[in-house]
Symmetry: C2
């Protein structure tokens, strides 16, 4: 497995090898959720294809008061995991080469990115769109695989790719969860024992709302209230948002139909966790 | 020569043919300046390569009070010229397919695009960057050729391409001029006889400043004043800006060195003409 640290090195390796390229963009701190994405990429690439995992903690998607500096960067363990799962290359550039002096160009999606996490984290999706487009331009994948835990990110990237005619097929893979339902996230490592014990309330709230929807309740107000009541049973939890939205445009809905989404962001201490469920 | 009207048709044609691809992005209304770009592209592509001319009057780079609706669209004459000059394909999409319903993603360069025409035409370079990136994603050229009459556009696209790791080699070709020095532009057709007679004052002013620089004058204030005095001899001319800037960053300079640029935009009636000169 190659470890490539610059766009030039990546391009040279791509020129020197052949086969369908499948990219898994990550910020590292890989967990079993990422593992499932890499396994998926391996299947999509086939034996003759190339699986590239990018590992880059992207500064432009962090707000000034967010966790950029303390975000975990266990590169050796990440590389070991990539190798075990059959990746062919890791693209692991430095912030200085990704954002050279005078960097002044951003990709901005103004609609799908506007609400939910986009409202709570100004500039976040601008950073995401910009780095994803850059990764696509460097790695020129045929396919890219993203995880649906970051539901809004998936929808924003899909819109961006459609709007800019990005020649990459996007694959979105289901969220992988701990046995108690907590969505896998690199940020789960921030949680102390008490926070960790309470965090599965997010999944329980979303499942309760899904159950109510399936029993006939379609009111967004009532379904999000079901989630909120469940979360209120966790004394540490502090809700950022709980929202019922259209599953494509992410515009708010008042009545839910199949394929809509309930999404949430909740703080446990300083740690902000997200999750979502489809009706 | 193929005429392709959708991104899908363009992609299919690219998949069905082989060879180095050289793209000339235009808004049509082709004149000898464009002709020189197509000839350049033909040379760069070689016999086995593919020259693609895109013809698309891009609505997102026009301001609400600008000349989008009256911009000339002589497609048959354009196609004839492309064929004569050896183009292999014209990409000629409709605004509706380039900007489908719900279009919400833009590419924005915030530094090189900020001054000069960017200041006079808010949103113009956002439209330019967005459409150029889209054209690159659809046509996937190895090389793209732009004309230096649109000097700021060239520098903005160069910065955008660097920042976003766009895998396209950019070639900037010299401005082609009428015999009296007026830079070729599709907008020259808007000029009435009197305006047309006075318009060469732009080139005379820039040449006078260049001559003064070569004779030792480096003050931006004095050199732009030389241009302004010359333009003042044309009673119809109304200056939008005359600026001395760094030739890469387009930041204003107070002392000019070799490779800096004097750029201007001047109205003749409702018609806004631009030109520039390198010191």
């Amino acid at each position: 497995m190659k470890i490539l640290k610059t766009a030039n090195a990546m391009r040279k390796w791509l020129d020197a090898t052949t086969g369908r390229t499948v990219l898994v963009p990550t910020m590292g701190a890989l967990h079993r959720g990422h593992g499932a994405l890499i396994e998926k990429a391996r299947k999509l690439a086939g034996k003759s294809g190339r699986v590239v995992v990018s590992i880059f903690v992207n500064p432009t998607q962090f707000g000034p008061k967010e966790d950029l500096s303390r975000y975990p960067r266990p590169f050796s363990a990440d590389a070991e995991m990539c190798q075990k799962l059959g990746a062919d290359a890791i693209f692991h550039p430095t912030p200085e080469t990704v954002y050279p002096p005078g960097f002044s160009t951003y990709v901005e999606e103004h609609s799908v990115a506007a609400g939910l996490c986009g409202a709570s984290r100004p500039g976040h999706f601008r950073g995401v769109c910009t780095v994803v487009l850059k990764l696509f331009n460097v790695c020129r994948p045929d396919v890219a695989v993203f995880g649906l835990k970051d539901f809004q990110q998936c929808r924003v990237i899909a819109r961006m790719a459609r709007d800019l005619d990005v020649p990459v097929r996007l694959v979105f893979a289901p969220t992988v969860r701990e046995s108690d339902g907590l969505a896998m996230s690199s940020r789960n490592t921030y949680l102390d024992a008490e926070q960790r014990a309470q965090a599965p309330v997010l999944r329980r709230g979303l499942l309760a709302a899904q159950k109510a929807f399936r029993a006939g309740e379609t009111s967004a107000a009532k379904l999000t209230a079901i989630v909120a009541r469940q979360i209120a049973t966790a004394p540490i939890a502090r809700v950022d948002y709980i929202a019922a939205v259209d599953g494509e445009s992410l515009e708010p809905v008042t009545k839910l139909k199949r394929g809509d989404t309930i999404a949430l962001a909740v703080f446990f201490g300083k740690t902000r966790l997200i999750d979502n469920i489809q009706t």
